[in-house]
Assembly symmetry: C2
Homo-oligomer: 280 residues x 2
DNA sequence: GCTATTGTTCGGCTATACAGAACAATGTTC
DNA sequence: GAACATTGTTCTGTATAGCCGAACAATAGC
């Protein structure tokens, strides 16, 4: 799992991942560990091992967060299972609401899902990553695991491409250099050049594809949303299992998604794709 | 704001609100302060004052949480505005997903909203409070502020009543004694006796009302959801501005909500209201 | 230009958060 | 049913990490 690293190693002061406040960092580690084992719940010892502290330390951390509702615990016999608390639900909801886009976009997403029978998502750029802040699940038994708030690499995601495509090239390259372009599948674009070429296409036609570039068998079609200033503040997409549609149909779907994105832009006072200036 | 309290006071060990880990508690304070000022964003000094620490301490706390995405910051000129980070969105989403009820209930909520044109919500009991974990907003311009994850007092909420009504009386009284029954409006039931009488009615007919008991002009109609064990694991409700319907219509609406609640119970393998034993 | 207000860094004192071991409570095994 | 194993919880000493205050930097206002 996680060896104890060299504990008493003088003080090379390295430890770049050592955050100013150790206990706070560990508390956040606990939350993320609980998130990673979501659904299962974890015991004190398990958590202690996961984040590399003693049981007693983990216990104190948990006690603090349970008292505040950030972690909830269930006693089951002698054991005690910890899971993420509902206080996080409230804060997460507020964090989403702070980005006002969600308010106006959600009804449109619903219509997009109604029209296409596909799961649709709304995402924004956060520190270079694409992060979904809204979602409408497709009807029917097929439930795509479209989790909210997870940072996704932009180079292999439809919303990521739409969010990036109108940024200045140097900025795009800086993001790609910082986050890397790992090969997620055989279709992933892994060189900045090929991605830039793709992004130029995306900017030109106003919609983007993720052609099994992140997960095999999963295809997405996305388009950007603009605010008053003309900046791409968000992007929407629909996700589908491997489409057996023709390329023509895929482009038709792209035009549909773009039309819905334009409606959101319109509500935000932003321009439609057709009103955008050509690329600099 | 917050005097230093008597620091060296022997050890009456009071300070019930002093959590084991001070810095972690303060970190959570920061998050909640940011949540309270949601939408506006806060500066370092403002946060420091809100939670009663020095600016430098607040700064360190924020830096730690920014590094992990729990807080996001926007530089605007020389100033720096902090707001809730998107990492919270992910964890909040996971916390909701952990309660599997959401998965099956959301489509039904959607149908309930479609059928009634009212905002519908799904709530569970958390430490005695009613906490909404799901919501479908009504169409149209009227947007009820139905925030997720906030702890709501059960005695003046429709979902709260439905969640409580089948608990043993001593347990209900214990919850009420612990949380109190503050008078939110002139219609709030403020004595355990009147509430218990109301809860017996709720249990008998299978749906509950909040008749402007929490907010004047706001009416809710709720019903409980049961799992395999027959326990009320959740409740749903619809919310409306002051209905001008007759009592008969209100009861009709109650029957509708109860029918949808029963459909969720059915999906969970639980009994419908009609299959429940009468109150002990 | 100077002042007022913000964010950020630094250093030292102290309280605090840590690990480890002891204790308790449960469940498991033979 | 008793010994064991495994879990959660309490306790205590000590090193250190976290806190404050003050100094510094950078804006914004006048």
């Amino acid at each position: 799992m996680k060896q104890a690293v060299d504990k008493a190693e003088g003080k090379p002061a390295a430890a770049e991942d050592r955050y100013p406040l150790r206990s706070v960092g560990r508390a956040l580690d606990v939350l993320q560990a609980l998130g990673a084992n979501s659904g299962k719940g974890m015991g004190v010892g398990e958590i202690a091992e996961a984040i590399g502290v003693s049981r007693s330390t983990a216990f104190t951390l948990l006690q603090t967060m349970v008292a505040r509702g950030f972690v909830s615990d269930v006693r089951i016999g002698g054991a005690r299972l910890y899971r993420l608390g509902l206080a996080l639900v409230h804060l997460g909801d507020l964090a989403v609401a702070e980005m006002g886009i969600t308010q106006v976009a959600t009804p449109i997403l619903q219509q997009l899902t109604d029209a296409t029978q596909l799961t649709s998502r709304l995402a924004v750029l956060d520190d270079g990553y694409a992060v979904a802040i809204g979602r409408v699940d497709a009807p029917g038994p097929f439930r795509m695991t479209a989790s909210l708030g997870r940072r996704e690499l932009p180079h292999c995601s439809s919303v990521g491409k739409s969010l990036l495509c109108r940024l200045p090239e140097p900025q795009i390259l800086a993001i790609l250099a910082r986050l890397g372009m790992p090969k997620r599948t055989e279709h992933t674009l892994t060189s900045p050049e090929t991605l830039l070429a793709d992004l130029r296409e995306v900017a030109r036609r106003g919609y983007s594809f993720d052609n099994e570039e992140d997960n095999l068998g999963v295809v997405c079609v996305g388009s950007a949303v603009f605010d008053r200033s003309g900046a791409a503040v968000a992007a929407i997409s629909v996700t589908s299992m491997r489409l057996e549609r023709s390329d023509t149909d895929l482009h038709h779907l792209g035009a549909v998604v773009r039309a819905f994105a334009d409606r959101i832009s319109h509500l935000l006072g932003g321009p439609a794709h057709s009103a955008l200036p050509p690329l600099a």
